[in-house]
């Protein structure tokens, strides 16, 4: 099964579970969790079901396209369901079967892994799912998002698409994966990997990045003052990515690091709290959405 078919299969599968299929969000981010479709929507009492592919940028993981497993940008397939359904593990295992993984022929385990994203004030409990010893999925019950206790609890399933594909296609090197008929992952992504690594580690303008961080932070704050949650959150994401670039460049000392993370977290907390207020003002509209599949 090529990469493209895997994405299509998962979309099909979760679509059949009444998930809304949205497209990748257009602001740089380190993980699918940071997509507002997850970060914001997992807050509050309204039900929610969504699935999407998220290209996730981790500047410090860039390896100039030379490492068979590490990437500047990788792909997550993200599913969020709130409240978490009783049969969520079975659904997940069915999705693996849809990808051609027969559990009887493999060793599949749920190994404790508690997830935290301190810069967004998020914490959850769950597992990493192992397929014959390889971590292919992060499976998390959100307990806290943006510093706010979740209620009801959303479950997040994050498939590591490259890992899963390298297993399914039996490839050692991520760049040898087949994306679609005759086109490899390398054909599509190798050049950007090399260039982004070069940019991140050697070229990026540190001074400009520091300026950008401050500018984005300020703009996020300004938007928040107007209770413009979504625009404000976009700037939080930009802050976070800019911080990652600075960090990868080695421009942030260990002492400063905590300070930057705290600044992003404070913004994220304000955004989360304001999002809840705004939804409440709207009367939590999705609670009343009778007849919608997601309810």
């Amino acid at each position: 099964m090529n990469f493209q078919q895997m994405i299509l299969t998962l979309q099909q599968f979760w679509s059949a579970q009444n998930c809304i299929l949205v497209q990748p969000y257009d602001t740089e981010k380190g993980a699918g969790t940071m997509n507002p479709m997850t970060f914001l929507r997992s807050l509050g009492p309204e039900p929610w079901k969504v699935a999407y592919v998220e290209p996730s940028r981790r500047p410090s993981d860039g390896r100039y396209g030379e490492n068979p497993n590490r990437l500047y940008q990788h792909h997550q397939f993200q599913v969020i369901i709130k409240p978490s359904p009783d049969n969520i593990q079975e659904l997940y295992l069915d999705s693996l079967k849809a990808l051609g993984v027969d559990p009887l022929l493999h060793d599949i385990r749920f190994v404790e892994d508690n997830w935290e994203n301190p810069s967004l004030g998020c914490a959850g409990l769950g597992w990493e799912v192992w397929l014959d010893g390889m971590e292919i999925t992060q499976f998390t019950y959100f307990q806290q998002v943006g510093g706010i206790e979740t209620s009801p609890v959303a479950v997040e399933i994050t498939y590591g698409m490259e890992r899963l594909a390298s297993y399914i296609q039996e490839k050692e090197n991520v760049f040898d994966l087949e994306w679609v008929g005759g086109m490899t992952y390398g054909d599509v992504f190798h050049q950007p990997e090399v260039e982004h690594s070069t940019y991140t580690f050697e070229v990026s303008d540190v001074k400009m990045l520091f300026t950008l961080f401050n500018t984005y932070e300020e703009e996020a704050r300004r938007a928040m003052e107007q209770h413009l949650v979504f625009p404000a959150y976009d700037y939080v994401l930009k802050c976070s990515h800019t911080f990652n670039l600075l960090d990868a460049r080695g421009a942030i000392s260990v002492t400063e690091r905590t300070g930057f993370i705290t600044r992003v977290r404070n913004l994220a907390r304000t955004v989360a709290a304001t999002y809840l207020e705004e939804r409440e003002k709207l009367g939590f509209p999705l609670l009343k959405k009778e007849g919608a599949d997601l309810v």
Binding site: N67, P68, N69, P83, S84, P85, D86, Q89, L93, P103, L104, L105, H106, D107, I108, R109, F110, V111, E112, N114, L125, W127, L131, D132, G133, M134, Y141, Q143, T150, S151, P152, V153, V155, Y167, E172, S253, V254, T255
Partner: protein
């Protein structure tokens, strides 16, 4: 009449590290509930897998035990009015106890007659109690980490997905977070199906047929026997670390052991790195040959049957290959790092906000180590090696390998330092300066490692105490207790001549010199001494009676080797010398009177009038020097033997001499004599603390 009770909590995969304790907790709570509910039974068994916690109660009575209870009421005088009728008080008592006055009996208690009501309550049917009882047990369970799920406001270790609750064949009516109890359990996630448990006694076998071995012991034995069989077939030694076995045991419901291999070229990486990677990342058991050399194989346990083990082995090999490639990459990259560059990076790592960077810490370790090297009389060469070791002891903290596996700190430092051309003593010293790393770990073997280890640990302790970080209760985030215990252990095992105060001084001076703004927290030295006192006390208490410990500690523990010696000698004498109590009593008597002596009064021999007091004085004078010499030489047995030699003279003194003489001068002189003896005796122990 009795029936078995079965209660199975079906869960999403519980973290392996919590399961055994959770199983025991469920059992304990069940046993306590049965007792409190007066339900007799013939035993409770507990079972657990990643997906279930179960208790099975054998032969639970169908009815609670009846109880008959007598309740004391008012006295007869109050209960009966003048006309012999029941008083208001008596009628009220009857109402409150739910009995009629005719059922009262009279009984005398301490000469007064009281009325008594006998309350009989018939036991109710067990089945009517189980629903609430079992729900209560589940709600009361606690875990190191709890979670919520779905829309329920209920916390548990992982989501509850099914419940089996049976009393005999009868299903107990019970519902938790929307899950209704029934008689249907779930088998192995992939090999099994749902299965009806027709009655509790069938549970273990029904689950076995569903490919779930619920019995923990049985599962463990099966894993071990499979590993041993494999080891025998292949001629391998498979290292089974207890905590890894425990984790694996609770990751599987049907265990099947398999092995895989990796490229022998990876064996160029230090063995510890490979083992750590296999254990920590992948939960594999490493494989060795008869001589103890690592072989390019690993052993793992699958949660399932023997189907397609080759596919699973291949998958695991692929993962391990990627892991070991990373390790190899780190190892090679790390060797490109110059030690001096690594040291420069330490300046940017915060050790503690108020105690500076790791670079600052390293400078302190160096300064403390240099002072200790002088105190311990290291040769010039060894002292120089200790200085170098101290300078670079933390450089590996910035290597990629230690970043990935923090438990390899020191191990990597040693390896990289050797490769970078450092002397053998320095390379080894880097590893050793972390020792002892845990209770029961070895102390540094070399004096270089020893000095740097002492310096590192006392710097941490003094640093933390100086800014008010002092362990209390379960709060000890910097593991200061372990480090203090490490220092004590090192002093003892190496029989160091350095005293605790000298060790404190070395670190205190350095902190004072390098400190700019903040003053030390108050009572720093006292707090340090008391803190170490508790460690010494704890150490002694392992082998010595508490009163003996208290007695010798009262004589000081600045010299740890000496206090341990004194404790052993005293314990030995107390145990084996029948008349030792007489010695102790006489020394205690000396001590009690000595307290009355004016301080600093010397004995004037010419004032000793009576023969017994002259005899005591002479005996004391004769033993004083050799006794002190024995103490100095840390020969506690000899010192105690000499001190015991005073016994007859002291007894003789008290038999015939009146200490509190009318003549003030004579009295003072006698007290001074006793005070002198007491001072000597208290240099060994405060014998008054001994308990007979």
């Amino acid at each position: 009449m009795s029936k078995d009770i079965l209660f199975e909590i079906g869960l999403e995969e519980v973290p392996a590290r919590f399961i055994r304790a959770a199983m025991e907790q469920l059992k304990d709570r069940t046993v306590k509930w049965l007792e409190a509910s007066r339900i007799s039974h013939s035993g409770v068994s507990a079972y657990a897998t990643p997906r279930r916690l179960t208790v099975l109660v054998k032969d639970a009575a169908e009815k609670q035990e009846d109880i008959s209870e007598e309740v004391k009421g008012p006295s007869r005088k109050i209960a009966l009015d003048a006309s012999g009728e029941w008083s208001k008080a008596a009628l009220g008592f009857a109402r409150s106890q739910g009995v009629s006055p005719e059922q009262f009996t009279f009984k005398e208690l301490a000469g007064v007659e009281y009325i008594y009501a006998t309350k009989n309550s018939d036991g109710v049917n067990t089945s009517s109690l189980l629903s609430e009882g079992l729900s209560g047990i589940v709600s009361a369970m606690t875990f190191p980490k709890n979670m919520r799920w779905g829309a329920y406001d209920f916390k548990f270790v992982r989501p509850i997905r099914w419940l089996v609750a049976l009393f005999g064949q009868e299903v107990i009516d019970l519902e938790i977070t929307g899950v209704k109890a029934g008689n249907v359990s779930r088998g192995h996630r992939f090999l099994g199906t749902e299965a009806v448990i027709s009655e509790p006694a069938e549970y273990v076998e029904t689950m076995r047929s569903q490919h779930v071995l619920v019995d923990v012991k049985e599962r463990e034995e099966l894993i071990l026997s499979q590993i041993n069989k494999l080891a025998e077939e292949k001629g391998w030694t498979i290292a089974i670390k207890e905590d890894l076995l425990e984790e694996v045991l609770f990751l599987v419901e049907t265990p099947t052991v398999l092995f895989g291999t990796f490229d022998a070229a990876f064996l160029n990486i230090p063995q510890d790195v490979l083992i750590t990677s296999m254990r920590e990342h992948q939960r594999y058991f490493p494989v060795f040959d008869a001589a103890g050399a690592l072989l390019p194989f690993f052993v793992t346990v699958r949660n399932g049957n023997a189907e397609s083990l080759d596919v699973i082995a291949k998958g695991n090999e692929k993962v391990l290959r990627a892991r070991l490639s990373d390790a190899k990459f780190f190892y090679e990259e790390d060797q490109k790092l110059e030690i001096s560059d690594a040291l420069a990076k330490l300046e940017n790592i915060v050790y503690h906000e108020e105690l500076g960077s790791v670079g600052d810490k390293v400078r302190r370790i160096r300064a403390v180590a240099d002072r200790l090297a002088v105190k311990l009389g290291l040769s010039e060469k060894a002292a120089a090696e200790a200085s170098r070791t101290a300078d670079i002891c933390k450089f590996d903290l910035v290597t990629q390998m230690v970043n990935e596996f923090s438990e390899l700190q020191g191990t990597m430092g040693e390896d990289y330092a050797r490769k970078a051309g450092e002397s053998e003593a320095v390379a080894r010293g880097i590893f050793e300066h972390y020792q002892p790393r845990f209770a029961g770990d070895a102390v540094p073997a070399s004096e270089v490692g020893l000095v740097v280890s002492l310096a590192d640990k006392i710097d941490t302790i003094v640093g933390c105490f100086s800014i008010g970080i002092i362990p209390t209760g379960s709060q000890d985030p910097y593991a200061l207790r372990r480090q203090a215990a490490g220092i004590v252990q090192m002093v003892l095992e190496h029989k160091l001549t350095v005293s605790l105060q000298e060790i404190f001084d070395a670190a205190l001076e350095v902190h004072e010199n390098l400190r700019t703004e903040k003053p030390f927290a108050p009572d720093l030295r006292i707090n340090l001494y008391e803190f170490f006192g508790l460690r010494v006390k704890r150490l002694l208490s392992d082998n010595v009676r508490y009163d003996v410990v208290d007695a010798v500690i009262a004589a000081g523990f600045d010299d740890i080797v000496a206090v341990v010696g004194r404790s052993r000698a005293l314990m030995d004498t107390v145990n084996n010398q029948a008349d030792f109590k007489i010695t102790v009593d006489s020394l205690t008597r000396v001590s009690n009177l000595a307290a009355k002596a004016a301080e600093g009064t010397a004995v004037v021999p010419s004032l000793l009038k009576e023969e017994a007091e002259r005899k005591l004085y002479e005996t004391w004078q004769a033993i004083h020097a050799p006794y002190q010499e024995a103490l100095r030489a840390r020969n506690a047995e000899e010192a105690l033997r000499i001190l015991s030699g005073l016994k007859d003279a002291v007894t003789g003194f008290f038999d015939s001499v009146m200490v509190m003489a009318d003549d003030e001068q004579i009295r003072a002189n006698r007290l001074a004599l006793l005070a002198g003896i007491d001072a000597d005796s208290k240099a060994f122990a405060d014998f008054g603390k001994l308990v007979w």
